[in-house]
Symmetry: C2
Subunit: 434 residues, 2 copies
Amino acid sequence: MQRIYTTEVAAHVGEHVRVAGWLHALRRLGGINFLVLRDARGIVQAVLDTPEALAALEGLLPETVLSVSGAAVAEPQAPGGVEIHGPTFEILSPVRDALPFPLNKPEVKATLPIFLDHAVIGHRHPARRSVMRLQAGAMAGFRATLAGLGFTEIQTPKLVGSATEGGANVFTVDYFGRPAYLAQSPQFYKQIMVGVFERVFEVGPVFRAEPHDTVRHINEYVSMDVEMGFIRDHRDVMAVLTQVVRGILGHLEAHYAPELAAVNAVLPAAPETFPAIYFPEAQELIHRLHGEDCRGEPDLAPQHERWLGEWARQEYGSDFLFVTGYPMAKRPFYTHPNPADPAYSNSFDLLFRGTELVTGGQRLHLYQAYLDSAAARGYTDLAPFETYFETFKYGMPPHGGFAIGLERFIMQLLGLDNVRLATLFPRDINRLAP
Amino acid sequence: MQRIYTTEVAAHVGEHVRVAGWLHALRRLGGINFLVLRDARGIVQAVLDTPEALAALEGLLPETVLSVSGAAVAEPQAPGGVEIHGPTFEILSPVRDALPFPLNKPEVKATLPIFLDHAVIGHRHPARRSVMRLQAGAMAGFRATLAGLGFTEIQTPKLVGSATEGGANVFTVDYFGRPAYLAQSPQFYKQIMVGVFERVFEVGPVFRAEPHDTVRHINEYVSMDVEMGFIRDHRDVMAVLTQVVRGILGHLEAHYAPELAAVNAVLPAAPETFPAIYFPEAQELIHRLHGEDCRGEPDLAPQHERWLGEWARQEYGSDFLFVTGYPMAKRPFYTHPNPADPAYSNSFDLLFRGTELVTGGQRLHLYQAYLDSAAARGYTDLAPFETYFETFKYGMPPHGGFAIGLERFIMQLLGLDNVRLATLFPRDINRLAP
């Protein structure tokens, strides 16, 4: 008999059905014994209405894998409005050990380190599982939006021959006896591929050897990268980013309602156009509204970002706010300056509820501009940049892009208090397993 | 004025249009001068019908980035049946250097090492670009098929704490002063996630420190991985693999006709069900048809696979053939034996035109079976397997899966003679750049 998912049982009331999954719980309610079976989609309960049924489950531990057959009967009190009567069982995989922490409580009752040590099991918890499902949904929404806008997917190498970005924070690999490095971002490669496909995206791992142990840092994460050519300036990139964010949220809303409900998530206010404020004007605004004079400083402090987030919410009803024109001094060497105000850049941060969510901008596109910028930053050895710079020797259009850190995006969207809770198997300075 | 793609010009005959892209060629045909402009989608020609137009392009080198405006005029002789008359130009990025090899000949005229050294430019060649577009299409077809079958996408860590698969062929990373390793496959993680989502897939990089310099080996490649639970045995996995292969081919046929034409590819014969032959029967067949007695040998030689491929083509009209039941001795320790014939396994190879394309099978799912298999293989230190084995302690359903190497798949599908030609920026024992 064909197995159906627990969530499909309600559509088969009056029929004999077979479900399969994990023994989530054995419960006694009002003198009646129930088995709760969990599969990838949900749960269903079976009434242990005969001594045989009760005996068959005697001593079974949670997470035993079972096949359950019986009659699907409508029952408004039951989860999903349906339950299985007269069940018979087949045990597919027995369990002999007690779980490190229960999976059948509304919340995971374990400290973060204990949870992470046992994440191979812990992700089975319906709330935890939902977070990882939403991660999958965010990736699908990201790709679907970009495919609709004519972007081509690329897969660029993670083993690179030189450490060109970000200096010291790079992992070294023993590559047949010589050093190689793990890519800190696909930045150079995605720019190179603008010369081929004009519009490209990549979803893949990046590696940062930052020795920080904070709630926002992990050393390997999934970067959702975009780069596009023939732009006017960074505003065209911001328009695509706005569509991507709205595309992801729309995809989650349309296809992941049960998962959003399971983690009590309320999707943010994302108007058709996100408000934007120019960096020096943001500093003026902070001075005016909060009396704090940060004018002339090269960056915004977290509190400044929070104030700006509140302002965007009040003024525009938006959980999102672009801050544009960060000072050139604070941006990477490939950043395009604002032609009208060259101490500032054609770059942006997208703040979400007052915290940075995405960074992006227009890049330099002329070969000479790269040589000048490298010289201005004091880069004396250009050999590591040779193939990257070759791209610009042979004609590159004005272009720009952005990168979204998948785990941080999910963390912020769901209001989680640690990025590790939005990561399948996080790596940090103290953790390489599971 | 809004820029349109070169491939859209034909739909605007009679209008003034603007295109933008790279100076692909300047040509003189029958006394008339033409500019050929290339963008991400195709090419269009502009007639240099005035002395001003000719003068504007004087001395421009190939790959100069240009914006071209003019009248779209139907011209059956022209590429795409249309050309631009009375063009005016804006130069967006000048070029001062001659290309390492021309990009406007029907084929790339460069040796493989020269091509790879300059791949940042070389991928702009329309035939080369098409291969990478087909790679993107294969990924999209893979994901779309699996999403339709209820699979959830996962992203598993590439930095791992222990080298558990494949022994010596693993890259070591300096992870804050202690050793970490680059994942050789997501095998363990995708099995673990069957316990959460039942059906999972991943598209991501894998790393193999194999010191082989052959046309089929690269040291970093993209693996398209699938794993699924609640299977009867490996035949359910084969059925999904068949749908995935047909899904990819269908996606390419529907959406990538220009790219397939650009590389002269003929899509293979992929019947609804792929024929399958049991390993010892394949050896009998080879003996009977070709007089070569390989019966009792633990593996098939390349010539044996070619003969089997020919047989499948003649007998079933299929370019695909499953060989099932490879001897247990040749398969990894997590492989499920054939219960009726335990020296053979519930695993398979999918041959494409007589060459192995995909490997997969049913895995062990009982905790005790893992302990027994590890002991039988003489694994004395089980510590590296601790979290992997924990999964099986807590109930896992019968499951199995497969992995498709993206670059080899494209190489074989297109009949390329080196996997490096199906790889964006290949890494091998001698190459870490670009």
